[in-house]
């Protein structure tokens, strides 16, 4: 039996790292759709820069996932050559941009989630994840400053801007439930000291979001049960279209290089 065949892949860690990477990859791709279309040049720059950071973080996670898997897939193969059911991002990340207000709401909800997650991953027993988190947390703080600033301006802005972000909040809020539902992979990672308890992340996220919403004079929607699981590869209808665009070049011209 060859060494490769005997190698046991740490599938829990592989899935866990892939989830972290796919969140940044898919959200980065979504934000990139604003380039050239944002309401102002500053926001065009802002969203492109946040997208760049998110994709940079995704590269670190996906490259690591490829090493854990040990089958020779690099970050590009993992990012661009999987099928929809193999993407493990939460469905919130793939929701369409909508108007600028909806993009801001989605961004605030995810920035705050990533911030609480990364702050805890810094003390992960997995040194590589701890290092990536320590790097990413600095960028994420800045992202939340940007998105949170816009949430307050729009929420506490005109009647029109307020009604738009309040509407977006109502549409997107149900998707936040799945961020905090633990499964076997999450529990295995907690047992090994790799990942934090999601209940703890939820509590911190909830109070951070609560403070932002009240500053933005927005009403907090009621929590509702929601059972869509992006982290198990079950996605909304929107991901397929996003992937078709993102993967086009790699599928049409396999092995293409700059």
């Amino acid at each position: 039996m060859s060494a490769a065949a005997m190698r046991v892949v740490d599938t829990d860690l592989f899935s866990y790292v892939l989830r972290l990477g796919d969140l940044g990859l898919v959200l980065g791709q979504r934000l990139g759709e604003w380039v050239g279309h944002a309401p102002a040049i500053e926001e065009d720059l802002g969203m492109a820069n946040v997208a760049l950071d998110l994709i940079g973080q995704a590269r670190l996670f996906l490259g690591y996932a490829g090493e854990i898997e040990g089958r020779g897939r690099d970050e590009d193969a993992i990012a661009f050559l999987r099928e929809q059911g193999e993407y493990l991002n939460p469905t919130l990340a793939e929701q369409p941009n909508g108007d600028f207000g909806q993009t801001v709401v989605r961004q605030v909800l995810i920035d705050a989630y990533q911030l609480e997650l990364y702050e805890r991953l810094i003390s992960s027993t997995d040194e590589r994840l701890a290092a990536i988190a320590a790097k990413a947390v600095k960028e994420t703080r800045y992202h939340l400053r940007y998105s949170g600033g816009w949430l307050v301006r729009l929420g506490d802005g005109t009647q029109e801007s307020r009604s738009r972000v309040q509407g977006a909040l109502g549409r997107l809020w149900p998707y936040t439930a799945e961020l905090f539902v633990e499964d076997d992979v999450d529990r295995a990672m907690q047992d090994r000291g790799v990942g934090p308890r999601l209940a703890e992340v939820h509590k911190a996220w909830s109070s951070r979001i609560g403070a932002l919403l009240s500053e933005a004079t927005l009403d907090r929607p009621a929590d509702r049960p929601y059972s869509w699981f992006g982290k198990h590869g079950q996605h909304s209808e929107h991901l397929g279209y996003l992937l078709a665009e993102m993967q086009y070049l790699q599928r049409a011209h396999p092995g293409a290089r700059w």
């Binding site: 790097k135 600095k138 800045y142």
Partner: protein, 169 residues
């Protein structure tokens, strides 16, 4: 022949060569000044290991910088070397050297005005950044993001000139 002095000379040559590698997006400021080069150390097999930290995970200049570093080290004939990506500890704007800060100012870019462990930048209601030209504190933020991931755009309300601020992270 004693290997140690040879290694020390190669390390010194490597640092000198790296001091001449400019950031492709901030001409005049070297990768050493920016704190991107973390270490140059001789390994037991005689090769030099050069530790390089990316500023931002998605910074498009990272790969160009790596190439420029490789070219400079090859041209300086420092012998066998390789570049190691260093993620931890994460790069911080605190690592910009005094010379780097001076050169940023000369380019009209305001260096971070406080330590990255001070999170006041992350609360809204920015503290004002002094204008690099007229030193007025009457300035405002135009955009949290600028022409590169590491900079934000500000404007002076006194002399009306726009200027860049190196983000504090």
């Amino acid at each position: 022949m004693n290997a140690a002095p040879d290694a020390a000379a190669r390390i010194a040559r490597a640092w000198a060569a790296l001091g001449g590698v400019e950031d492709p997006e901030i001409p005049g400021v070297s990768v050493v000044d920016l704190g991107v080069i973390r270490s140059v150390a001789a390994q037991s097999d005689g090769g030099l290991e050069v530790g390089l930290s990316p500023t931002y995970t998605g910074c498009p200049a990272t790969e160009v910088i790596r190439q420029l570093v490789e070219d400079a080290l090859a041209a300086a004939a420092v012998g066998p070397f390789w570049i190691k990506r260093v993620l931890a500890p994460a790069w911080s704007s605190d690592w910009i050297t005094p010379q780097g800060r001076r050169r940023l100012r000369e380019c009209g870019i305001v260096p971070p005005d406080h330590s990255s462990s001070d999170l006041r930048d992350l609360r809204r209601g920015n503290h004002p950044v002094a204008c690099p030209r007229c030193h007025s504190m009457q300035t405002e933020t135009v955009s949290e993001f600028g022409s590169t991931p590491c900079k934000a755009l500000h404007r002076c309300c006194a002399c009306l000139e726009p200027f860049e601020y190196f983000k504090c992270i």
